[in-house]
């Protein structure tokens, strides 16, 4: 191979490498400052969610591969324990034959994942948009809510040094947005709101509430039993 051919091959390889971008989303996600719902939540992550990888299929666009699964599990591991008094992982969705110990089961899914680059939109921001399907089941495995939630994150071009860094930051912002919306809006979802009204904890389950009954009397319910063993509960949002 002569020198010109070698240079040409090298330039071609660099050019081809420039069309493929790979990114594993990484960021520090804070825990939210919210009130806990006095219920036990089971969390079930399907592998499609916990190992989610977005691969661009369009031939007209750069070949982006964005691994978002571990980062979104990371966000939820910070958010959910602040939303419920108890959070337990479950290996499978419950059924009437095999009910869960948790009162509610949370199993999220990604319906759509999109990104936009400044070159495509002519706006000086990198954008990530994720459409989630937040599915909530009761202990018997009956679907209570099928909440479609969108998360959005963007970051300006001037701030970042590389495209990967900018897309990562936009993805981190989208995941923070998901955590914020989930923590503040979940109790407002009509089906969940109705369930929470139907499953209001016994006021006696609050250890700080003044006891009006004889403390030596046998517990009247499971929640009273929890109260006597010191389970803490707070009002929802």
């Amino acid at each position: 191979m002569n020198r010109t051919a070698k240079i040409f091959t090298l330039i071609s390889l660099i050019w081809l490498a420039g069309c493929e971008n790979s990114l594993v989303v990484k960021g520090n996600f804070p825990a939210p400052m919210i009130d806990k719902l006095p219920h036990t939540l089971g969390v079930y992550y399907e592998p499609e969610f916990s190992e989610y990888i977005y691969k661009e299929k369009s031939e007209d666009r750069s070949m982006w591969t964005i691994t978002a699964g571990p980062a979104q599990v990371d966000v939820l591991s910070k958010v959910l324990p602040k939303m419920f008094t108890s959070v337990i992982p479950v290996n499978t969705l419950p059924s009437p034959e095999n009910p869960s110990q948790a009162e509610l089961i949370f199993s999220p899914r990604i319906d759509e994942f999109q990104y936009a680059l400044p070159r495509e939109t002519k706006v000086n921001v990198f954008e990530i948009w994720i459409k989630y399907n937040m599915r909530i089941y009761n202990a018997a495995g009956q679907l209570l809510a099928d909440w479609l939630m969108t998360a959005y994150g963007k970051t300006p071009t001037a701030f970042m040094t590389s495209k990967e860094e900018a897309v990562n930051e936009a993805a981190v912002m989208a995941l923070r947005d998901m955590g914020a919306t989930l923590s503040l809006r979940l109790p407002e979802v009509p089906e969940i709101k109705a369930w929470l009204v139907d499953h209001k904890p016994n006021p006696l389950s609050d250890p700080n509430a003044p006891l009006t009954q004889d403390p030596d009397a046998p517990p009247a319910s499971a929640s009273l039993s929890k109260a006597l063993t010191g389970t803490h509960s707070e009002e929802g949002l």
Binding site: P30, M33, A158, D177, G179, L184
Partner: protein
């Protein structure tokens, strides 16, 4: 050799003379007087709710660095640190847009405690961005066996438009607004090598905004920052 040095010096002088200029206009609207005392802090936050632009984090950092510099500097709490501590209340889609909403959120004991621990007196919202408004010209570069070179001329205009809204957290009222508009044209002549003559539009908007903000918060103190160029 002497002739060559003279040529380099002339080129440098020419570049300095041709360096792109920026004009900055600052406006202030004051609704009350600031009472910042030793130990009090402020936090600068960028507004990020708009879909077609985003207040640049580096602009917010730049203003924060300038107003916190020197003996007369103001304590500034970092934007990311503050939003992390108060997550999810200051995210782009959840941040309070009015003092009334802030008042509602501040009813939460944990929220109020964080602001009290930081000794926050003022929350300053920075809204706006810098964008390229027009560009023209072209530069062509070529590479050959004898070497490489560029030839042509390019020019582009940039505009910054920022507004700072100062919220008095302790008294729950808007204290005033400061706006900074900056414009500048950058040039890039290329004769063998491209020579960028960049107008530092955003940097000058930052300096102008920071100087005015500092005098707003501490009317009787100077600031250790150069003025707009």
């Amino acid at each position: 050799m002497k002739g060559k040095n003279l040529l380099y010096c002339s080129a440098l002088v020419l570049m300095a003379a041709l360096s792109a200029c920026t004009s900055v206009t600052i406006d202030e609207y004051r609704q009350g007087t600031s009472h910042i005392v030793a130990g009090d802090s402020v936090v600068l936050l960028g507004r990020r709710h708009s879909s077609d632009y985003e207040t640049e984090p580096d602009l917010v950092n730049c203003i924060g660095k300038i107003i916190s510099a020197g003996d007369s500097g103001v304590n500034v709490v970092g934007e990311r640190e503050f939003t992390d501590q108060l997550y999810p209340w200051f995210e782009p889609r959840t941040a309070p847009m009015s003092m009334k909403r802030l008042d509602q959120i501040a009813e939460r004991k944990e929220f109020a405690n964080v602001l009290e621990n930081y000794k926050i007196s003022y929350i300053i919202w920075i809204d706006g961005n810098t964008e390229t408004t027009s560009s023209s010209g072209s530069i062509g570069c070529s590479i050959g066996a004898g070497g490489a070179g560029c030839f042509g001329f390019g020019t582009w205009d940039k505009e910054s438009d920022y507004e700072a809204t100062i919220w008095d957290y302790k008294n729950r009222k808007t204290l005033g607004t400061i706006s900074a508009d900056a414009k500048g044209t950058s040039y890039m002549p290329a004769i063998v090598i491209p020579i960028p003559l960049i107008a530092r539009v955003q940097a000058n908007a930052c300096k102008g905004m920071a100087a005015q903000l500092h005098s707003f918060l501490k009317p009787n103190a100077g600031i250790n920052a150069p003025g707009p160029q």
